[in-house]
């Protein structure tokens, strides 16, 4: 695709509003979106995803949000494939909140997360495209008085193959709109795909190389003020008093807003707001968590780990085998609280009037954000408009809408529109963190050094019980046990238990891979321990246990072969392997190559990852997501972890929240398996598979088994 055609793929609202007249653009965009849903009489809108204008413009509504993972290309590919238009012919629009039209079938609401977009919409969006194309072809056949079988659609034009007559989709829109929507349509045979499976260029990136892409933080409205916030540093704490005299004296500071659990400084610009915030003298009532340290949390988890949990999976009699065993291994694994540190700090813009609430933000859960604003304001849902924006990173952080709740509460006290932006410090210290998990592992090796019993007891809070209560059944957090319940290794006795233990001192939530990210580290580290105890090669040990899973075996073989597994390495280097399978439906195997300095610094030199995620929509996006996940996973494994002192998060910015930088990044190779299996998730698996591969490589390089993350803390403290 040429550069010009890619440039044309601007949002229709942006095309109408243009360049940097952002106020005007945003003023106009709600009307554009309203028109999106209703359509007009001459537009052809057979479903909520497609609208074809009389002038030939093809608008596609994007309900799965773009936070870097490439959905604003993969979703259009699914529609365009069946609609028979080119990606250069479509315009994209952020979909408005509407669970009835846009719910993600895996969650039941309009939600982007859990590596679900392609899995959930692979068929629905193709069907949406096929339905529209079928109707356009029928409209052309009717116009010509010919059989539909003699008509062919291609690049937005229907051709009568016998006579060569053509009609464009735009010319057919009015006629097609009057036809009944067919209940059933035929989807293409995958062998006829022209787009799906090809490395299509991303539609969102041209606006991201020149500063034109609009994120939530870029919203500008006429008369808008900027606010920044200090919320209680302790969860559950309350504001007692604030001396704002110095803050009010700062030029540009307009107002100090008091909430029961925070203070906001409202100003003409962020600089005044930040200075104002720093000048406040705030007194807090810390509440019941004001004396809690990380060690207290771990103590609580360790105590909870002493009691049996709810049984998630039970085959054979693992407890009996463990009780009788002579050759038994037992280990405890711990993973820390993790902050997301999305590059775009949390923010939300609100314009509130007595009968209307308008919100601009980048959210993974637009209808939840809408409902939260409706609840606070008392307005009905249809009076709350939410305009999604590009997300400057999600990673699960924007599955929470605490920023929306807070911004609306602030807006209730402010005249005119207000954009609430958190400082990085606020963002790190008021995150919804990946929980601290504590796992007890045990296994039995027989006389031939084969594992005959396996036991995992997972201890941690339940995110699902809070977030998707209907999915929290029989005391099992389906996310917390994901990746553990599906253990692929063929072991005669397997027991997986889950102990729910809440950690109210911090808010906990989803973090790229959540349950699987934690479980894969624990399981694949412990399997490595078993291989070492059996004095076997870690890859060969796994392969012998995977004979019932050909797809897992295949990725393991690809990754080990490509990595040069077994070949000599320079002195001080080691290779580690990890295999992943979970609810995402994708199979991954990864080999990491590391060295460790005397001071305990880990250098990851090279990572080779083999991925079988079934049917691939955009292969370059899959590779990019795996690369991304690996870097994210290494950051977490080596350095990740926020700690608590007196109920307060001790870290605050990128000087003490260490994340990977370019000079530390390994060479990464991704190998894709090609098959026609159902699509699997790809956004999170690269992160989930990485910590164990790196830790196992550290073991290979140093002989040190690390059972508590982050790795470098353990290596340094030895």
């Amino acid at each position: 695709m040429g550069q010009m055609s890619r440039r044309q793929l601007l949002f229709t609202s942006a095309a109408a509003g243009g360049g940097f007249l952002l106020g005007l653009h945003l003023e106009a965009s709600p009307r554009v979106l309203a028109a999106t849903v209703k359509g007009t009489q001459t537009d052809f809108a057979p479903n909520a995803f497609i609208r074809i204008h009389k002038d030939g413009r093809v608008a596609l509504m994007m309900n799965q949000v773009e936070m870097g993972q490439g959905t604003y290309t993969s979703m259009p590919m699914l529609i365009a494939e069946e609609l028979e238009v080119g990606l250069d012919q479509v315009h994209l629009e952020h979909a408005p909140p509407n669970d009835k039209l846009y719910a993600n079938p895996i969650f039941g609401d309009q939600e982007t997360g859990g590596s679900t977009s392609v899995r959930a919409f692979y068929e629905p969006l193709r069907r949406a495209g096929a339905t529209a194309r079928t109707m356009l072809v029928a409209a052309a056949a009717e116009a010509w008085g010919v059989d539909t079988a003699s008509c062919r659609a291609r690049r937005g034009v229907v051709t009568h193959t016998l006579t060569g007559r053509t009609l464009s989709y735009g010319a057919l829109a009015e006629k097609a709109a009057k036809l009944p929507v067919p209940a059933q349509v035929a989807l293409k045979d995958p062998k006829d795909f022209k787009l799906i499976g090809t490395p299509a260029k991303r539609l969102d990136t041209p606006a991201k190389v020149n500063g034109k892409a609009e994120y939530g933080i870029d919203v500008r409205l006429p008369g808008m003020k900027i606010a920044t916030v200090a919320a209680s540093p302790v969860v559950g704490g309350k504001l007692v008093s604030v001396d704002d005299a110095k803050a009010r004296a700062i030029k540009g500071v307009r107002q100090i807003v008091r909430l029961d659990d925070g203070v906001a400084v409202v100003a003409d610009h962020m600089w005044a707001a930040k200075q104002g915030l720093a000048a406040l003298d705030i007194r807090w009532d810390d509440g019941q968590h004001g004396k809690i340290n990380t060690a207290d949390v771990v103590e609580g988890l360790a105590a909870a780990a002493q009691t049996p949990g709810v049984v998630v999976r039970d085959e054979g009699d693992a407890p009996a085998a463990l009780a009788a065993a002579t050759n038994k291994l037992e280990s405890v694994y711990e993973v820390p609280f993790l902050a997301h540190a999305t590059m775009e700090p949390m923010n939300c813009t609100v314009r509130l009037s007595p009968d209307r609430c308008e919100i601009w933000t980048g959210t993974q859960v637009i209808t939840r954000a809408q409902a939260a604003a409706a609840k606070i304001t008392g307005l009905p849902l249809d009076k709350v408009e939410v305009h999604n924006q590009y997300l400057g990173g999600g990673f699960g952080r924007r599955l929470e809408f605490d920023i929306v709740t807070q911004a609306v509460r602030i807006a209730q006290q402010v005249q005119g529109p207000v954009k609430v932006i958190w400082t990085r410090e606020e963002d790190i210290q008021h995150d919804v963190y990946r929980p601290y998990y504590y796992d007890r592992m045990a296994a039995v090796l027989n006389a031939q050094s084969q594992p005959v019993a396996w036991m995992q007891r997972i201890v941690g809070p339940s995110i699902i019980a809070r977030y998707l209560p209907a999915a929290f059944k029989n005391g099992i957090d389906i996310d917390g046990v994901d990746g553990a319940a599906q253990l692929l290794y063929d072991i005669p006795a397997i027991r997986v238990e889950y102990v729910r233990h809440e950690e109210p001192v911090l808010n906990t939530g989803f973090w790229r891979g959540v349950g699987v990210t934690h479980n894969n580290f624990v399981i694949e580290s412990f399997v490595d321990e078993l291989a070492a105890a059996a004095k076997q090669d870690p890859a060969a040990f796994r392969r012998a246990l995977l004979h019932k899973s050909p797809r897992a075996t295949a990725v393991l073989d690809i990754a080990t072969r490509a990595s040069g597994w077994g070949k000599p390495l320079p002195e001080g280097r080691g290779r580690g392997v990890s295999v992943l399978f979970s609810e995402w439906g994708s199979y991954l195997a990864e080999v990491a190559e590391v060295s460790v300095s005397k001071a305990g610094e880990v250098r990851v030199h090279r990572v080779v990852c083999a991925v079988d995620c079934g049917t691939v929509v955009n292969p370059d996006t899959v590779k990019a997501q795996i690369e991304s996940g690996i870097v994210f996973g290494i950051s977490g494994a080596l350095w990740g972890g926020v700690t608590l002192k007196n109920g307060r998060v001790e870290q605050s910015n990128f000087h003490d929240v260490r994340v990977m930088r370019i000079n530390e990044a390994p060479a990464i190779e991704v190998h894709l398996v090609h098959n026609q299996e159902a699509p699997g998730g790809i956004g999170e698996p690269g992160t989930a598979v990485t910590a164990a591969a790196v830790s196992n490589a550290v073991f290979a390089a140093t002989g040190r088994r690390i059972r508590k993350l982050p790795l470098e803390n353990q290596l340094r403290s030895a």
Partner: protein
Amino acid sequence: MVMLKINGKSHTVDAAPDMPLLWALRDLLGMNGTKFGCGAALCGACTVHLDGIPRRSCVMPVSAATGHSITTIEGVGATASGKRVQQAWLDLEVIQCGYCQSGQIMAAAALLAKIPAPTDTDIDQALSGNICRCGTYPRIREAIKRAARKPATSKKEG
């Protein structure tokens, strides 16, 4: 009142001398391509050029920028190295969420303007201050090398 020369145009802004350039650009001038990431020169999302040198606008007072030529992501495409970097970024599909990429592109463009054929070490030194949470580093490295190899195609480029 402070005078700022940005992307070849003069602007007068009502800013206190100690206001960081970042907020003058974003909140006073509506130039939102330059991003806020940390406010402490730790992440590089706010990188702009001052007389061609990459600087962190979140800690640079406007008073220090006065009298200098400021280039932002909105204007870097008018420079030869900036245009090549932008094109290489698209050719190799570097970008994911994109939030840090204004800063990455500004850092890369400044590097290429100074060192036409940078080594891996040059790239590490020039871009280690720019964090990308999407982990696009391997592609950034390749894109810089591609931009270095590829001569300018447009006649406009100098």
